[in-house]
Amino acid sequence: MDIPTNLKYTKSHEWVRLEDDGSVTIGITQHAQELLGDMVFAEIPQVGRKLKQREECAVVESVKAAADVYAPISGEVTAVNSELQSAPEKINQDAYAAWLFKLKPTNTADLDGLLDAAGYQKVLESEAH
């Protein structure tokens, strides 16, 4: 499975991209969408909500199950991908394009604690055993 090397990851299968303006974009990984199957619903946090790292902040639901999405780092929600409300299947089509929300990080250094592509690959390998 191709894991983009320009992103950061969490053990709970979120991806994180640091943007040029200092904000971060967050979604769920290709592996997560494969596990869940066809998406039918996404509940995304409101703009302005302040999140603590690892706080439950969104829910994606597939035909199979509901899965919580956790804030990879602390910050304030600055944008949400409202397209997913009517078309949650975008996550299945391209998990790394179908972002859920953007955060203004409380502390950009929090990003250093996240996994890189190689580290996330190891998480997937250990889950497979």
Binding site: G37, D38, V40, F41, V63, K64
Partner: protein
Amino acid sequence: MLKTTPLNQTHRAMNAKMVDFGGWDMPLHYGSQLDEHHKVRSDAGMFDVSHMLAVDIKGESTRAFLRQLFANNVDKLTQPGKALYSCMLNPQGGVIDDLIIYFLTESWFRVVVNAGTADKDMAWMQARRNELAPGLEITPRRDLAMIAVQGPNARAKVWQVIAGSQAVTENLKLFQATTFDQYFIARTGYTGEDGFEIILPATDAANFWNALHAAGVAPAGLGARDTLRLEAGMNLYGQDMDEAANPLESGLGWTVDLKSERDFIGKQALLATPVTQQLIGLLLLDRGVLRSHQKVIAHHDGTEAEGEITSGGFSPTLNQSIALARLPSQVSAGDEVQVVVRDKMLRAKVVKYPFVRNGKSLI
């Protein structure tokens, strides 16, 4: 070690996502559960249901034995090939399993039971046989495979694949079966669409499956099977009823024959137990997805009553979440109820089910 059906390698060759389904290694989907669902509603799909068990019951007193064993009345089966849906109850009136009975001859009935309950069912049937009709033979048929071909074009595709089968099966009514060569062909299903359920020798299963595929029948997994049966308002054993549930509180009253003089296992318990709940449909009005075990709160004449979702999910046909729920009897279609979904209370409308039949919304 998971149990496998005769089609296991075939599923893997078709890139199925395999899951542990009650100890069986079964296909969940072959890419997209939603696509498979729509294909069955609009064209034709096929399901490997070989994990279910066909059981042959043979001997002169078979009908008399089944009269006592099942809650539905086998005396409704007057024509060879006719099928009947029934529950098998324990003496407390709880549901041991739901099954289909086929009347073949006076000395041969075939019963098809659920996979997860097959061992328990066999033990129960054999024990009752030993008490009530020791001369009967009860034979599990693990030498057979079962393939359900479902959808508006399903029968035509089967006719295309089994040369000569059209003449003998096109006049089958719903819930009727016949044999043709090595095939046992029944006009039954678990999707709310037309189609056949076909029982055949396990050794022929892969060839038949591949021939159906070549004829344009889409393989469909257990995921689509569940959303299709939920839309069709068909009970799932273990969710909508089990040994702790009263069939009369599980939407199965129509299958329990309490009118005839006949006694059957569980009848006295059912007659002695007041019915205070019902199985009814829910249509989610807010955004989200209903799931089994979520709590339902109903308001009726100023009092609050609770119930529970037994089966819930997303309906691909309605593009909305639906559920079956066990609610107090006084709740009726048209009422609005609340469902506790995680930390929220979502609004749902009480509706009669089925939700979908023959490709069309009934809501």
